[in-house]
């Protein structure tokens, strides 16, 4: 007979307690990652110092963090919108790719347009392409009851291959010596940098879009309907909410936001379309959204944290030859431990009284 018994908390754990659980989960996953580093023959302590220093130790590193946090933030924001309605959109990666493709189409077709017309056109095309890519699984789900998790995921694979098809074929730069990439965008198709930093104006997009999403859930009737529908589908239907249309809306918005991330990445970071932009931001976004409990502001913090992790792991790769896949171990471990930690916000252990 165990000496502990599990009891439901009378009141959910407060902010302080939740932070403790979160910190414990992060510490546990870093420890676990350290064990695997040691197994791979790398000293965990020196790795930790390289990781932290590489991610947050210099101005250049911090700017790199912000640069990577921008696409992660936008994808996670989109993922969170869908998760609010308990629609499992695992397809941010594919919607990101479609967004990049849509923006690139506009950039390559109308290179002569002035910046003030071309950038909005690229954004619109990115949102349309990403949004439609997100809408397909939503329609299949509501009309044919197919499982959206698998459809969105399969569409990720298809989207990445579609991107490959374009950059190896029709859109290939004839002067690229066989490398799969489109020609460089014209100047008016490139999102500029902020002042003297390497950070692009995508950061401002994040702030505006994050604020819009927050206001949507806080102030609009539809936003409230999404929250209600996510809480209880059956009750929402009884209350006369147009559930099908809500699903279409959140998936289209979700895809459009991920698509916007693809636009920023193609336009500002690489100035062209090439397969190397697909580095799994769409999957990291799921970790970020869940860590942040789907809140737009918290997503910002979590996006910076996970972007820092990516930058740090890149340094590990350069300095200590740790394979890049190491980042996946930490991301997966963080998500698993945070999920398990969620238990302590609703339950507590008490000592079993002796009979």
């Amino acid at each position: 007979m165990s000496l502990l018994r599990i009891a439901k908390r009378q009141e959910p754990l407060g902010v302080g307690g939740s932070c403790c659980v979160l910190a414990a989960a992060l510490a546990l996953s870093l420890t676990l990652a350290g064990v695997f580093l040691a197994l791979g023959g790398t000293s965990p302590l020196s790795a930790l110092s390289v990781l932290l220093h590489g991610a947050f130790g210099s101005r250049h590193a911090l700017e790199d963090c912000v640069l990577k946090a921008i696409p992660i933030y936008l994808c996670a924001l989109g993922v969170a919108v869908a998760f609010r309605l308990k629609i499992w959109n695992i397809g941010a990666e594919g919607q990101f790719a479609l967004g990049a493709i849509g923006a690139t189409w506009a950039a390559l077709t109308f290179p002569e347009l002035p910046k003030i017309a071309l950038l909005p056109l690229m954004a619109a095309m990115a949102m349309a392409a990403g949004g439609l890519w997100g809408l397909v699984p939503a329609i299949l789900r509501q009309r044919l009851r197919t499982n959206e998790i698998i459809v969105t995921l399969m569409m990720n694979y298809i989207a990445v291959l579609l991107l490959d098809y374009l950059v190896y074929g029709a859109w290939k730069d004839p002067t690229s010596f066989g490398f799969p990439m489109t020609p460089l965008f014209s100047d008016s198709a490139i999102i500029g940098r902020i002042g003297g930093t390497t950070i692009n104006w995508g950061l401002a997009h994040c702030l505006v879009l994050g604020l819009l999403v927050w206001a949507f859930f806080r102030f609009t009737r539809t936003g409230f309907a999404v929250l209600a529908g996510g809480d209880n589908v059956r009750a929402a239907r009884y209350a006369g909410l147009p559930y099908d249309r809500l699903v279409f809306l959140v998936m289209a918005v979700s895809g459009a936001l991920a698509g916007w991330a693809g636009f920023v990445e193609a336009s500002a970071t690489v100035n062209r379309l090439q397969p190397s932009i697909m580095v799994g931001y769409g999957y990291t976004a799921i970790v970020v959204a869940w860590l942040a409990r789907l809140h737009p502001l918290a997503i910002g913090v979590a996006a910076l944290l996970l972007a820092g992790l990516r930058v740090g792991v890149e340094n590990l790769q350069l300095d200590l030859q740790v394979p890049a896949a190491f980042g996946g171990i930490i991301e997966g471990a963080i998500l698993l431990t945070v999920l398990a930690g969620g238990f302590f916000t609703t339950y507590r252990f008490t000592r079993r009284r002796r009979p």
Binding site: L144, I149, A333, A340
Partner: protein
């Protein structure tokens, strides 16, 4: 196309369908107990790596195969702990397991890329392999394929003809009633999760030990996700899973042949085939959803009781 080419293609179909078959059967076992496991992709790739590494260092591929199954069980036990002990969301936990497993396998496997290891080679079954057509398609393979023939009927028998199978299905169908009947629902779910993980690990090991005979990063290439989709297509029945797995095996075999024959279709379009087929197959199976054996409490956690 001549008959010989078709028969060779069908034989290749069985071989490339086998890893998916193992994984699909594992996922059926897990989901029948009520636990949705989206970590198949991560578990499979860990199995593929461990099978390869153990075979390489021990020189015994069978040892690698079994070790891969055990590692599959260990990996899914993480999912079990998060969902069955800590009440974590099954969808997110499975995803996390996939991210973790793929990361871990690619990380630990870097040193093994391009190295050789002993694997399984075809052993024609005496007698049966002499049969015309059927013999070549089904009985001229490595021993693991023959093992995979035995698993679906055994799994069906376990689920439908033993009391443990009945208890496991009850845990996935109506855990409340199962508890009231005095069953240890959490134990049955553990059995489903860990047992399912064993087969997922075997499926991964089949890839590295009998199919490709080498280790590369991202070896599974979405096969785990296809297995999750096939469970729906199979209506949670082991027999239909065989059909589904060979359907995908066929598409993958065909895609390889087309690529090798230098067809005028770009390879990225050919590579899309299995993923597009997965979506198509899901749409198809949604039509007859009424006749499926989907467990009623799939994905629903059982709250702890004092």
């Amino acid at each position: 196309m001549s008959a010989e080419i078709v028969i060779a293609l069908l034989a290749a179909t069985v071989q490339s369908g086998t890893p998916i078959l193992f994984a699909t059967l594992g996922e059926i076992l897990s989901e029948k107990s009520g636990v949705l496991n989206l970590g198949v992709e991560g578990v499979m790739i860990l199995g593929a790596l461990v099978g390869f590494v153990v075979a390489r260092h021990s020189g015994n591929p069978l040892l690698g195969f079994v070790a891969a199954g055990l590692v599959g069980s260990a990996a899914t036990a993480v999912h079990g702990a998060v969902c069955l002990w800590f009440q974590g969301n099954q969808v997110v936990s499975g995803l996390a397991l996939t991210i973790f497993g793929v990361g871990l396998a690619n990380y630990l496997g870097t040193a093994y890329i391009g190295t050789p290891a002993p694997g399984f080679s075809p052993v024609p079954l005496p007698g049966l392999s002499e049969l015309p057509v059927i013999g070549t398609i089904f009985f001229n393979h490595d021993p693991l394929v023959y093992v995979s023939y035995l698993v679906p009927p055994l799994l069906w028998l376990f689920l439908h003809a033993t009391r443990y199978g009945l208890g496991l299905r009850a845990a996935g169908e109506y855990p409340g009633a199962a508890v009231a009947a005095g069953l240890d629902v959490v134990a049955y779910r553990w059995l489903g999760v860990v047992g399912g993980g064993f087969f997922m690990g075997l499926g991964g090991a089949y890839l590295s030990l009998a199919y490709t005979h080498l280790w590369t990063s991202n070896l599974t290439a979405g096969r785990g996700w296809i297995a999750v989709a096939l469970v729906i297509f199979a209506f949670w029945r082991p027999g239909r899973a065989v059909f589904g797995a060979y359907l995908f095996g066929g598409i993958m075999a065909l895609q390889l042949r087309l690529q090798a024959s230098g067809a005028q279709v770009p390879s990225s379009i050919l590579l899309m085939l299995p993923y597009a087929l997965t979506v198509f197959v899901l749409v198809l199976s949604s039509w007859r959803k009424g006749s499926s054996d989907e467990p009623a409490a799939l994905g629903v956690n059982v709250a702890p009781v004092d």
